[in-house]
Amino acid sequence: MKIGKGEIIFAVIAVLFMASFFYGMAANPGSEFGGADGAAEGVITDVTGGYEPWVGNLGFEPPGGETESLLFALQAAIGAVVIGYFFGYYKGKGRSD
């Protein structure tokens, strides 16, 4: 695939995104970049003076960070395989037609 205008614009935005992350690291020293949902939980605690969820986790709970990252990687891998398969299929089909 030829590098066109689209790829260049995407690359520039990706670099800007990385730059904004490094700026974020400098602006928030000591931050571990935890989930925004965790931060929202803090607000809920502030607002309600301690909220207890009325029901706990109902699905499977990964025992730790390692298993969790495995399942997230699996999710991304499944998606990437599907995308790559069909792009390759269509590209090859377009050539043979």
């Binding site: 790829e7 935005i13 989930g35 969820p53 109902l58 699905g59 991304a76 069909f86």
Partner: protein, 231 residues
């Protein structure tokens, strides 16, 4: 970043199910029709679903010092409309709720409303309006996907603020606090997602533009024009 299990008290979690279920049912009807009548378009549907799968698994750091993930729903919304996107959203949200302790089953209605329905609806409307105004296809896709992502988190903030109004500031006070977390964290992620979606659409135009024409997403003239420019 979806609302955790048990984090929406009564009556809010039920209300969001009441909101979401009709849309999901309509989406399933549309999806059934698509699958039975246009089997040749299934691969494109798979790509749109897979795109949501990939993007919602990537937790990206943002300037605010928090992480969040993009949604990937803009692409499906542009190609298949918000109702079908809602069904795809349910699949992804169920996977994350059942296996990752991310989001939840009781909050599924609310999370589908934000990520599967209202965000995609915004993308769909922006896309239609932009194409009508004759703006460049990729620019329109960029804005549609960016806002699908960003609006999703504005809705999440609103859902939490409705359920947890603050004692001093009420709903508005809470909304400001939640928006400060979700909406600001999401800005760079949403822009990144918009750019990626536009780039993927370039490749779809290259290899399978006839499907987009069939779905009435784009006209043959626009395809010819885009190919003339980018070829």
């Amino acid at each position: 970043m979806h609302i955790f299990e048990g984090f929406l008290p009564s009556p809010w979690w039920q209300l969001w199910f009441v909101f979401s279920i009709p849309v999901i049912m309509f989406g399933m009807y549309r999806l059934n029709k698509l699958v039975s009548e246009r089997r040749d378009l299934l691969p494109l549907l798979a790509v749109a679903g897979a795109f949501i799968f990939v993007l919602s698994s990537l937790k990206l750091p943002s300037v605010t010092g928090s992480s969040s993930h993009p949604t990937g729903t803009g692409m499906a919304a542009i190609m298949f409309g918000p109702a079908v996107t809602a069904v795809l959203g349910v699949i992804v949200l169920l996977y994350q709720a059942l296996f990752l302790a991310h989001g939840g089953l009781t909050t599924l209605g609310a999370n589908v409303a934000s990520m599967g329905i209202i965000g995609p609806l915004a993308a769909y409307l922006i896309y239609k309006a932009g194409m009508k105004a004759n703006i460049n296809f990729y620019v329109v896709v960029f804005f549609a996907a960016t806002f699908a992502d960003w609006i999703t988190y504005v809705v999440t903030s609103t859902q939490l603020a409705l359920a947890f109004p603050s004692q001093a500031g009420g709903f508005v006070g809470s909304l400001q606090a939640f928006l400060a977390i979700f909406a600001t964290t999401q800005v760079p992620l949403a822009i990144m997602e918009g750019a990626l979606t536009a780039l993927i659409f370039k490749y779809i135009i290259q290899v399978k533009s006839d499907a987009l024409v069939e779905l009435k997403v784009i006209s043959q003239e626009t395809v010819n024009k885009l190919r003339g420019i980018s070829a």
